[in-house]
């Protein structure tokens, strides 16, 4: 395999990256670019570049103000950062998914996380603060690694899926990620909000009771 050596010591970023890019082009196909730089930040920038271009990367400190980074290209450049690379990643993802679902089965019963929101405000006290807190809560919920399976809105909570714009985007984002969002129909009727539902579906008390009873964990803000 071909190896190209580049000395970029004494050069500031972005010059080391540009020299490395040129060397990779020169390489044309499989091979290695060894590049010497005089600072660690340049090594880190080269590492980012390797990650973006899906190249193998390793680095070594040779001495004071002397580092060597190695970028390894396995195949033709088209396959490394063009369509070929995308296909490759796609294939890996499918494999990982299968492995993950297998893991889930092995671990045991699935968690049923349900959030129950019974007010448009979070906590007792100032309504202004309560509104800010509720917005913050629903946002934080949307950022959890493990999203709830269902979010139930009832009583004043019905405002959050209808008139109140504060959290609609977060709720829609969660719905897009598969979270079931349900608002109590009786509550929508009571507050005259039925025509204003912006996100999720309508539910009734039987379903609410069922969801809460079936949950392994209920979060109530």
């Amino acid at each position: 395999m071909k190896t190209i050596e580049v000395d970029a010591r004494g050069e500031q970023c972005p010059i080391p990256m540009i020299k490395a890019k040129k060397a990779l082009e020169e390489l044309g196909g499989a091979g290695t670019v060894q590049i010497r730089v005089d600072n660690e930040i340049a090594v880190q920038n080269l590492k980012k570049m390797a990650a973006q271009k899906k190249l193998g990367f390793q680095s070594e400190k040779k001495g004071e103000r002397d580092y060597q980074a190695e970028l390894k290209q396995d195949s033709l450049p088209e396959a490394a950062d063009g369509r070929g690379g995308a296909e490759q990643t796609g294939g890996e993802a499918v494999f990982q998914e299968t492995e993950e679902s297998y893991m889930n089965c092995a671990v045991g019963p699935q968690k049923h996380l349900v959030a129950a929101v019974g007010s448009r405000f979070m906590g007792d006290g100032s309504e202004e603060l309560g509104r800010i807190l509720m917005k913050g809560f629903l946002f934080a919920l949307s950022q959890l690694d493990e999203l709830p399976e269902t979010i139930l809105f009832y009583n004043g909570g019905a405002y959050l899926t209808t008139e109140c714009p504060d959290s609609l985007e977060d709720l829609k984002a969660m719905e897009n990620q598969g979270v079931e969002i349900l608002t109590c129909g009786t509550c929508l009727d009571y507050y005259g909000l039925k025509e204003k539902l912006q996100v999720g579906g309508v539910t009734n008390m039987y379903q609410i009771a069922e969801k809460l009873a079936g949950a392994t964990q209920v979060i109530q803000p």
Partner: protein, 339 residues
């Protein structure tokens, strides 16, 4: 005119010392105790504020750096706009300015004349008075200003006093560091350069004056530590900021230049410094680089209530640069989520 060019290698705010290195040194200095020093080192705020009377305080700042553009007059303008900006970030009014000059003895003095002319024009535009300066012979060119402004002690815009529920308003586009870096290797388009230069030489004066008409909860200017670095300083009170990367204004070409790896060491230092405190929720390498890009004479970043933010944003947009409401403050730990 070929001779009217200055040699630049990694100038502007990309030349700043890294935040980590700086913090280490500053921590070791003994603190000064004076009740009239309203803003000092601690909050890593933009300028120092010292109270003279109950109604009057002075705002002091200084900034200078090597050239990031080849045209000496433009460099003078940009360096001055950048130095003056710290006063605007505090909500102050510019009064006097002093030149800071490093210039090689062997270099053509006409270049220095043009740099100083650029600076002088910006001080005039700021409504200030250029009142002196200091120059030394040095290997490379460096220029900037020491600026003094005034402010009412009760109307200081601190950088770390935002509140949950606030929206974040950014008044200039990001990406000037990446564009000037691409330019250094001859890869920036005329259009990208034009917008970058226009943005860097644009005073933050009007934007600051508009913001002051609203109850601003926190304000800073975006410079060498990047958008994310300066936003992190705003979250010192212990809040989470959610950044909407789709709403962030930036110089359009910066995205392609980042993908071509026209990156600075400064950007990577900013990334290292913030580390795990920033979480990217979607994969977008170029946007990450834009958000970590050191800015020279960047825009103001202000925290206001949603209603005030959208109104102020509309008015600031009319000044002629891309701006936007780029995120929101939430209760939580000190952290930035980029969506």
């Amino acid at each position: 005119m070929k001779e009217n060019r200055i040699f630049c290698k990694g100038g502007g705010c990309t030349a700043k010392l890294g935040p980590a290195a700086l913090q280490k040194v500053l921590k070791q200095l003994p603190k000064f105790e004076d009740p009239n020093l309203l803003v000092g080192f601690e909050g890593s705020d933009d300028a120092a504020v010292y109270r003279l009377t109950d109604e009057l305080a002075i705002v002091q700042t200084l900034d200078f750096f090597p050239p990031m553009v080849e045209d000496p007059y433009l460099f003078g303008q940009i360096a001055a706009a950048n130095a003056l900006s710290d006063v605007y970030a505090m909500g102050g009014t510019v009064k006097t300015a002093l030149n800071i000059v490093c210039f090689p003895e062997t270099e053509d003095l006409n270049l220095l004349g043009e740099i100083l002319q650029g600076g002088s024009d910006k001080v005039r535009e700021a409504g200030g008075v250029l009142s002196g300066g200091h120059s030394i012979a040095d290997e490379g060119i460096k220029y900037g200003l020491s600026v003094t402004g005034v402010i009412h002690p009760g109307k200081i815009l601190r950088n770390n006093t935002c509140r949950p529920g606030d929206q974040l308003l950014l008044t200039k586009p990001l990406g000037v560091g990446i564009v000037t870096t691409a330019d250094r290797v001859g890869e920036a388009s005329e259009e990208a350069k034009k917008l970058a230069v226009r943005s860097m030489s644009f005073l933050n004066r009007r934007a600051s004056e508009i913001l002051r008409e609203y109850p601003v909860h926190g304000c800073t200017d975006v410079t060498g530590f990047s958008f994310l670095g300066h936003l992190m300083e705003m979250l010192d009170g212990g809040y989470t900021a959610a950044v909407d990367s789709g709403a962030v204004p930036y110089i359009p070409e910066a995205r392609a230049y980042a993908d071509e790896f026209y990156l600075t060491a400064g950007g990577q230092r900013n990334r290292n410094f913030l580390g795990d405190l920033v979480e990217f929720r979607r994969e977008d390498f170029a946007m990450e680089e834009i958000l970590f890009d050191p800015q020279t004479s960047g825009g103001l970043l202000a925290a206001l209530s949603p209603k005030d933010a959208s109104e102020a944003c509309k008015r600031i947009e009319e000044l002629g640069l891309p701006c936007g409401i780029v995120g929101e403050v939430f209760p939580g730990e000190k952290k930035i989520l980029v969506n």
